[in-house]
């Protein structure tokens, strides 16, 4: 289990992370969200032992993370951290050896992953000759080559097309099945929504939202009503509890303060013509994120 207990990190007078606490169980996927400079990468670096917390502590299987544990951890940093003059084989051999693996094991696993990502012909290609997406794949392979017990992924999907994103997701799910603890950050909230059990939203180092995604969504009162039909915007806006009305090419989205206001909206809509859809749904994680981060901005 990974435990982060009341961690704080100061850079001089700047507090990058403030009173952050969470835990991840084996086989759990944890999402870390936040705008740029929110403190996600600092958190990852503290988990990896690259930075020492100013306050609080981080424990991996009950003890402080040290260089004895690094062989059980996989790390993929946000920016590409590849030695571009090396070939794929040379680079993965180098990084694998730094993870304490022997040459044969590295080559065996490398061949497997190259095949799985459909890039087996790139084995002897220089990293600098690869496309950004393929470089991202190699970087991902270097993070998982040691079959880690804890996988730390900082923006793993950036620069990837949807097909390759799905491949990454499949692999991440495989590791989850094997009991790997996975923590990752992303700007693409739909990824968090699709396969994270828990998340934390950081804003300027402060956790503004935290917990199980289902609970977060449940606790968030606002709802959306999606409807298709001949309705009048002004009349919709005049209904009590309606916060906003968005007109999309095919449908209307009516944002309401609470699920209980859906009845009033429904009462108006049923008087309109050609109503083909009326669907009340929870607010998206993206909306919750914007709402919460916006609140923090206002507080600051």
């Amino acid at each position: 289990m990974l435990e982060v207990n009341h961690v704080k990190k100061n850079y001089g007078s700047l507090t990058a992370v403030n009173d952050l606490s969470f835990s991840i169980q084996p086989g759990e996927i944890f999402g870390l969200l936040g705008t740029n400079g929110a403190g996600k990468t600092t958190t990852f670096k503290m988990i990896l032992g690259l930075l020492e917390p100013t306050e609080g502590n981080i424990r991996f299987h009950g003890k402080k993370i040290s260089y004895d544990d690094v062989d059980q951890i996989g790390y993929m940093i946000e920016e590409r951290s590849l030695l571009v003059k090396l070939s794929v084989k040379e680079l993965v051999l180098h990084y694998g050896a730094l993870k304490g693996l022997d040459k044969d094991t590295i080559l065996e696993r490398l061949n497997y992953w190259l095949k799985r990502f459909n890039i087996e012909s790139y084995l002897d290609k220089k990293i600098k000759e690869l496309s950004k997406g393929n470089q991202q794949k190699i970087q991902f392979i270097t993070a998982i080559i040691n079959n880690p017990k804890l996988l730390v992924l900082d923006e793993p999907f950036s620069g990837l097309d949807p097909i390759n994103t799905n491949k990454f997701v499949e692999v991440i799910r495989d590791f989850q099945q094997k009991g790997t603890m996975i923590i990752f950050s992303t700007h693409q909230i739909d990824h968090v929504e699709s396969f994270c059990e828990q998340l934390i939203v950081l804003e300027k180092g402060i956790p503004v939202l935290q917990g199980k995604i289902s609970d977060i969504k449940k606790d968030f009162k606002r709802h959306n009503i999606r409807l298709i039909g001949e309705v009048e915007e002004a009349k919709l806006r005049s209904i009590e509890g309606v916060l906003d009305v968005i007109i999309q090419p095919n449908e209307w989205i009516v944002k309401i303060a609470d699920e209980s206001f859906s009845e009033a909206v429904f009462n108006y809509v049923k008087t309109c013509k050609n109503i083909r859809k009326f669907d009340v749904e929870q607010a998206t994680l993206s909306e919750i994120f914007i709402e919460k981060v916006g609140e923090t901005y206002e507080q600051v």
């Binding site: 990896l48 690094v70 951890i73 030695l83 730094l98 304490g100």
Partner: protein
């Protein structure tokens, strides 16, 4: 294999065993071979028509020998064996050591006899070393003739062999000590250049290695697997080993080239000593060269230890500078003041033979930033004595150890920092951060 060993091996492999390494070493070997075989190359193209040098002979042996004829005959036999030599002898009635009159000659030899032992005084006036060698060989023949002059056939039969060495004294027109120091100074300049190049190369390797990892962010991966101290040590040690291996290889190339020059190609047919060979090349008295060669082992030893410890000192410094840099451009501007300091040391070495016993040079010899380059040349040119060298070396070792303990925490604090603040501000910041760590 531990990660320390792995990283060290990886660092060494990146420097040694690459195509660039092989090509550079082939070029160095060929250059050394060519340099040390200049006499053979000269001899190969020599048409044998070297200009003749005249030696005046004053024969006071009172043995009634035709000394000029004996010397001429002996010389003729030797001239065919030593390309480039050409000497002839002319008789002179007297010689005044206090008022030498060389005339057209390059040397005057005064022959006397102590009972049956030939005693020779050689007064040189720029006699070619090759011709000097021929002269000494010819005098050895004359020596036997002088010894045998008063002997009966019966006496000669009783003593079948005569092994007494030639008794001779060479009087040169130059001040030996000054010449010796001048030659050592000149050698020191040639020594300063490879030291400077090797040091620049090795410290550059450390810096470039680190900055390559840092600028590509690969350092983040590496540092998540090994502690900063391990990374710091392996980077320095890998370049340090490269420095030693490359220096050792150059030394071996020198020996091979020397062996090829004197034994395999052997323009001198093995009859010439190294001092005579160098003397021939530099047109200097072989005795002075011999004195230079006697001083050289100590000088080279000092050069070697200063290069090794100095290299370590500079590498620690350069690794820390690289850890504070964020890109290659940043690193280049960061290292400029450091390179400038090394250049000062280099120029001080070059000009040490002209500046003589300068107090500024002596002070530079005690400062670790300059001493690795300056001390070997200052020792060779006679500005620093052995005691000075020992003091300077102790200071250098102390500074190297101190520098390691001072800068290792700074390296740890700065290796993952991408701070872009100005030069001095960044250094200050990193020192402050290292104390916090």
């Amino acid at each position: 294999m531990s990660k320390f060993k792995y990283l060290l091996k990886y660092g060494i492999k990146r420097r040694i065993g690459t195509k660039a390494f092989y090509i550079a070493n082939i070029v160095i070997f060929i250059a050394l071979l060519a340099l040390m075989n200049i006499p053979n190359i000269v001899a190969f193209f020599d048409d044998g028509e070297a200009s003749k040098e005249i030696v005046y002979v004053v024969d006071d042996t009172q043995k009634g020998l035709e000394s000029i004829e004996i010397l001429d005959q002996s010389t003729q036999a030797l001239l065919s064996m030593i390309p480039g030599a050409n000497v002839s002898f002319e008789p002179q009635a007297t010689v005044d050591p206090n008022n030498l009159s060389f005339g057209a000659s390059k040397a005057i030899i005064h022959l006397t006899a102590n009972v049956d032992i030939l005693v020779v005084d050689i007064y040189k006036n720029g006699l070619d070393t090759l011709n000097e060698t021929v002269l000494l060989q010819a005098l050895s023949v004359l020596k036997v003739q002088v010894w045998a002059a008063d002997k009966t056939p019966a006496e000669l039969e009783l003593i079948s062999d005569f092994n007494q060495p030639l008794v001779y004294e060479i009087h040169t027109q130059e001040d030996d000590h000054t010449t010796r120091d001048l030659i050592l100074s000149a050698i020191s300049v040639f020594v300063a250049i490879p030291i400077f190049i090797m040091l620049i190369l090795s410290v550059q390797f450390v810096g470039v290695d680190i900055i390559e990892e840092k600028s590509t962010k690969a350092i983040e991966f590496v540092m998540s697997t090994v502690p900063p101290q391990t990374h710091f040590m392996t980077k320095i040690l890998a370049s340090f080993i490269f420095l030693i291996v490359q220096s050792g290889l150059i030394f071996i190339y020198g020996i091979i080239a020397g062996f090829v020059s004197t034994t395999v190609l052997g323009a001198t047919n093995g009859q010439m000593s190294i001092s005579e060979l160098i003397g021939m090349l530099t047109e200097t008295d072989s005795n002075i060269i011999s004195s230079v060669l006697n001083a050289l082992p100590m000088a080279l030893f000092i050069t070697l230890i200063f290069m090794i410890v100095g290299g370590l000192f500079f590498m620690i410094f350069m690794a820390t500078l690289a850890s504070m840099s964020t890109s290659m451009e940043d690193f280049q501007s960061f290292q400029s003041p450091f390179m400038f300091t090394m250049l000062i040391g280099f120029y001080a070495s070059i000009f040490s033979m002209y500046m003589g016993d300068s107090i500024v040079l002596k002070i530079l010899g005690y400062i670790p930033l300059f001493s690795p380059i300056v001390v070997p040349t200052l020792y060779m040119s006679g500005v620093l004595g052995v005691v000075d060298v020992i003091i300077s070396f102790v200071i250098l070792i102390g500074s190297t150890v101190g520098m390691y303990y001072l800068l290792a925490p700074v390296y740890k604090a700065s290796i993952l920092s991408y701070d872009q603040s100005p030069f001095f501000q960044r250094i200050k910041k990193m020192f402050k951060r290292s104390k916090a760590i």
